[in-house]
Symmetry: C3
Subunit: 154 residues, 3 copies
């Protein structure tokens, strides 16, 4: 039986994609005591970066927000792979949000809201998190956004 959180995903007609392997010699998640660390997730879909390009240059705000939302979905996939049951999440403690951004871009918080809004929608109060949002000169595979997470879990 799927838990409450997966039921909410289903109600939104959202399937968790398969958790992606790491893009290098590291692991996608680690669980120690009550903390679950998730590696930086890119906006990957079907094995490819779905949203590439630089905010303030060749990617617009809506694309950035879609990219952030997809990073968040991939974070949930990794959390599911780590915990088996997403209902074991006690609190999303932190999102670190990195936006591939031109030197004069200033709307990083709006981009990251694509991830934050989605996670609050799915996780409810347990999804209300602390956050950073900063601009990167470039990101792996030219992705528009990279986001990592730390959860408190049971």
């Amino acid at each position: 039986m799927a838990g409450e959180i997966e039921a909410r995903l289903k109600a939104l007609d959202l399937a968790l994609p398969e958790a992606k392997p790491a893009l290098g010699s590291y692991v996608p998640f680690l669980h120690l005591d009550r903390l679950l660390f998730i590696s930086g997730q890119l906006p990957m879909k079907d094995g490819k970066v779905a949203f590439a390009g630089k905010l303030g240059a060749d990617a617009d705000l809506r694309q950035g927000q879609e990219a952030a939302r997809l990073c968040a979905l991939n974070i949930l996939s990794q959390a599911k792979a780590a915990l088996r049951d997403l209902d074991r999440i006690v609190q999303l403690l932190r999102l670190n949000g990195f936006v591939n951004a031109a030197p004069d871009f200033a709307d990083h918080p709006k981009v990251l809201n694509g991830a934050s809004d989605f996670l609050v929608e799915i996780l409810g109060n347990k999804g209300r998190h602390t956050r950073i949002a900063v601009g990167c000169s470039s990101l792996p595979l030219a992705a528009s956004v990279e986001i990592d997470a730390i959860f408190a879990v049971d």
Copy 2:
């Protein structure tokens, strides 16, 4: 009765500004067990970014240091909002410092010292922290610095 740390702020004639709400769909702080996470703070004053611009381009080192100090003051405001009493701080564990910086800027540590020196001045040994200092292509609202923090608390 205000605690020891607030007395030190007062002795320096510094008032804690009101803790700012988050610039998006997240929360400014979260407290789990002995850890207190503070979201990335900008050099905001009276609701506006007080120090904007890029180090190595249109902002000089002194402005960067003032920006970092103001981020640190805002971190203390959030810690106060979270804990009510700053004397509950056991140790500032980590500052992550992000400097809005031109491609050839190299003095990120000097910029961040504006925050680090201030926090050691206010918190004493409990303010001695680990740190990163890196350069960002851009930051929210064109701010010169963004800093987040993790505290150990009672």
Copy 3:
């Protein structure tokens, strides 16, 4: 008597360099309960940055990987200074990897593998970590890479 991990370093003919003091008013490591925080480490050797320059501009991939490996060695030096015995490491939980990178650089994961591969070689399964890899517009002292770490320790 040196522990298992230091024996592995010796077998590779690698000496841990002396742990560097912080480049500012902070500390290189902090230990709280089961967590050990290490400040951002640069590719320093004999008191100087051994690998400077921007990936995708004036530093090539091999240099970036060497830089990342040297950051990782300096992380181990700090862990040794903090713990006295590296065998007290339970798990490397997180590496945050910051690459000094041109706007069109995309191989950040390959750069960071220089650190990740080395740490798995030295620490075995305890070295398998979560990670972020992002591009910075600039880094302290024009270093090619900066990496910080969080360990779980006994």
